[in-house]
Symmetry: C2
Subunit: 459 residues, 2 copies
């Protein structure tokens, strides 16, 4: 990048917010996906929304690829920049602009940390349910760009379900507004809906309006211990079939249980073949009834024990252990591949069976855990990418996991996004016309292709 252009960026964001050393650039060359790093030419950090808009405009004027980055927790390469491009950090745009208790909404800048936002909302007696695994560091802008999910997706939905409006910069740096602070709004095309999950390919978020809800009045957490994976997955389907919608309904296989326990010391039963971690919430009467029903279903399907959390501390301990699953698994081998192929809930037993078969067939270490209640499992392959022979088996196994998920009526990605990691599979799930339609749309809104190029729909 020429010096004049660097100076133009510095004039917008301030010299102190322009990074160009190799170390700095390398820090933003990769994300949490298992993909090759790509060095950007420059990293900039606007300190105001107005400066963010000017950065977008300048990049477009110069045909410079732009990759907007929150905390880079992305698992599909959505935040891997282009060679010679610019990484734009949102972490200075971290103001919660409004929490409106009377009208149950909040307005945030894109760089607000998810967990901080949820805590600020909770302090005002309200609830922001989406809780992606990376919530402690992920940003709201990243969550919206990826349509982040989480443990509570089953009952409360995902990020998409909480985005009431988005103001965003188009590629010329002009502000486009979509959505409202009202519960109902059909003024104009659902552009904020289109922005959710668009992985930075169509616009750059200026501010986001989010729906809040009253918190549940009570909750109860249970751990059901199974000797048999199949019984556990059948219990998941049976709970849903009984028209119980738990807030969370999580699964862990034996490999994950042992690895997590070794890491988190939460008192998990390391000899169990499968665990279900279940939380029901709502009115106290409902919680008591549903917990009882869930317990009965699990026992009927062969749970050898049910442990009910006695208090909030015990409840938190279990959830912290569950949240530690990825970190714990990631310690085992140099490379951790976390997938999120997702199937209709009733297909969970079939998917579990297939994952077991695939691990054997390709001789791989696969720990499986995840959001069983919404069919969103996370088979996690522990490997070493430098071992070329093994890596080939990993790639073949991933292909087969996707084929199985699609064959069961599922989807390539429940919550991790397509990014560059899965864009080659997209046509298999949808159609050629879908890819072409998406590309026409992209081309019209970003004619020079500077907005996070290559993500989702390829080139």
């Amino acid at each position: 990048m020429n010096e004049a252009l660097k100076k133009d960026f510095a004039a917008i964001v301030g010299q102190e917010n322009v990074m160009e050393s190799e170390a700095d650039r390398f820090s933003y060359a990769y994300d949490a996906a298992v993909l090759e790093p790509v060095m950007p030419a420059l990293v900039v950090r606007p300190e105001s929304r107005e400066a963010l808009g000017r950065v977008v405009k300048l990049a477009n004027e110069n045909g410079l690829p732009l990759c907007v980055r929150g905390s880079g927790t992305n698992l599909s390469g959505g935040t891997i920049p282009r060679e010679g491009g610019v990484v734009v950090l949102t972490n200075a745009l971290n103001n919660i602009l409004e929490i409106n208790e009377a009208d149950l909404y909040a307005v945030v800048e894109p760089g607000v940390i998810t967990a901080k936002f949820a805590a600020a909302v909770a302090a005002r007696g309200l609830f922001y349910p989406p809780d992606p695994g990376s919530q402690a560091v992920s940003t709201m802008g990243g969550n919206v760009a990826e349509n982040a999910g989480g443990l509570r997706g089953l009952k409360y939905g995902v990020t998409k379900d909480y985005v009431m409006g988005v103001d965003f910069f188009d590629v010329d740096g002009e502000i486009v507004k979509s959505g409202s602070r009202t519960v109902k709004c059909v003024s104009g095309l659902n552009l904020h809906g289109l922005m959710v999950g668009s992985e930075g390919t169509l616009g750059v978020f200026e501010k986001i309006t989010l729906k809040l809800v009253p918190p549940p009045r009570s909750q109860k957490a249970l751990m059901a211990i199974f000797d048999n994976v199949n019984s556990a997955s059948e219990a998941v389907a049976a709970i849903i079939a009984a028209k119980i919608v738990p807030a969370t309904l999580e699964f862990m296989d034996n490999f994950t249980i042992r690895t997590v326990e070794d890491f988190a010391h939460a008192g998990l039963p390391v000899d169990a073949n499968a665990l279900l971690l279940i939380e029901v919430d709502g009115h106290a009467g409902q919680v008591a009834e549903e917990a009882e029903q869930v317990e009965a279903i699990c026992r009927k399907l062969g749970a050898r024990g049910i442990h009910v959390a006695k208090d909030a501390a015990e409840r938190n301990k279990v959830w912290e252990a569950r949240r530690a699953a990825l970190s714990a698994l990631a310690r085992v081998c140099p490379t951790t591949v976390l997938e999120d192929a997702t199937v209709p809930r009733s297909k969970i037993p079939a998917m579990m069976q297939a994952l077991g078969d695939i691990a054997v067939k390709y001789r791989l270490k696969i720990g499986t855990f995840g959001h069983a209640g919404d069919g969103n499992l996370h088979p996690t392959i522990l490997t070493d990418r430098r071992n070329k022979e093994e890596w080939k088996r990993v790639e073949d196994a991933i292909d087969e996991i996707f084929d199985v998920a699609l064959g069961l009526g599922g989807t390539l990605s429940g919550e991790h996004g397509i990014g560059i990691a899965k864009s080659k599979y997209m046509e298999k799930e949808t159609s050629r016309a879908t890819i072409l339609f998406s590309r026409r749309l992209k081309k019209a809104l970003d004619p020079k292709g500077i907005l996070n190029p290559g993500k989702i729909i390829g080139e």
Copy 2:
């Protein structure tokens, strides 16, 4: 339209499904909005989804404007065709393709009637909550195209919240697929989200996948009678502020009460200045508690009486009366203008006050009722469009209603759509860049501008 082209349409849909008499064409020249009818050149009625796709392709090849029509209950001119264009009826595409009880979703063709779908779902022990006022005749395709709302929006959300996926024909008649049967899905751009509320301007629905939920276990309906409109609107805000989310929270002013009672004989108190019709639902314990709290709040804010429905029959009677509001009001004068400007819930008292002032200022008969709980009121102006002097006052009053709603942080349309009736106001709510962005998008996806041209974003 030349005869050869008519024959091409007949070859696709069958001669018996091509209508071209003046009477037939006039039947599809207007919808429920107060706008001038526009005569299409031809009306066609495909009997299969495959034929629907071929109709789209043929229209595009010939640059013929296309207006896809369910039941034409649209209130903003979204189903008024173009002169010389084609109206495509979806009423033969009325199959419910799947209701999946284990995985809580359904797949429907676009012409399925909303109430029939809801009943079919209920018969399987599940619940499809969106209940637009026109549900007895409206179609699911129309509901999705308009993002239809209804009485239950407050607790259960609107159509958008239930659309898990849409397969649609692009302008070339190719099938684009977006979304999934899984709760979580981030495979590709959120094109199904973009389709919701796009009023037929971007694609033609082939089939729609809808989320279902378990039905509430119990419900309780209350009618709170107020001598004072302001007290009633304050009660609405107070109920929400108390973190109670009723399934429905409806308002009627005295004019509406009297007109409805005269029509429906439901036993409404005709001397009341305002009524709140409230239903809480869920677990029996919660319902009992919330009903008690709602009653206490209403009494505290000056309700002179509270009537609790004793049984389902009594409950239904009240809701039928509420549902009759538009029909009842429509009988009073030759022209009925039903608006749906929407404000954040806490601004309901201010909006009610403004509506009263506007009725006086412009010397108009305005009956106001609607979904107070989500800020979505329906001020209904009863007039005679042939009276030019009065009609001018009506137009001025509508302008002022929109200005007030936007000034209170609200939106032009909560659930009726923009269509052609409100497209000139769009820029006021959003920005010039928003209109241009939307037009670029439209142009890319429909280069010849045949898909319901002129709607939402003008020409």
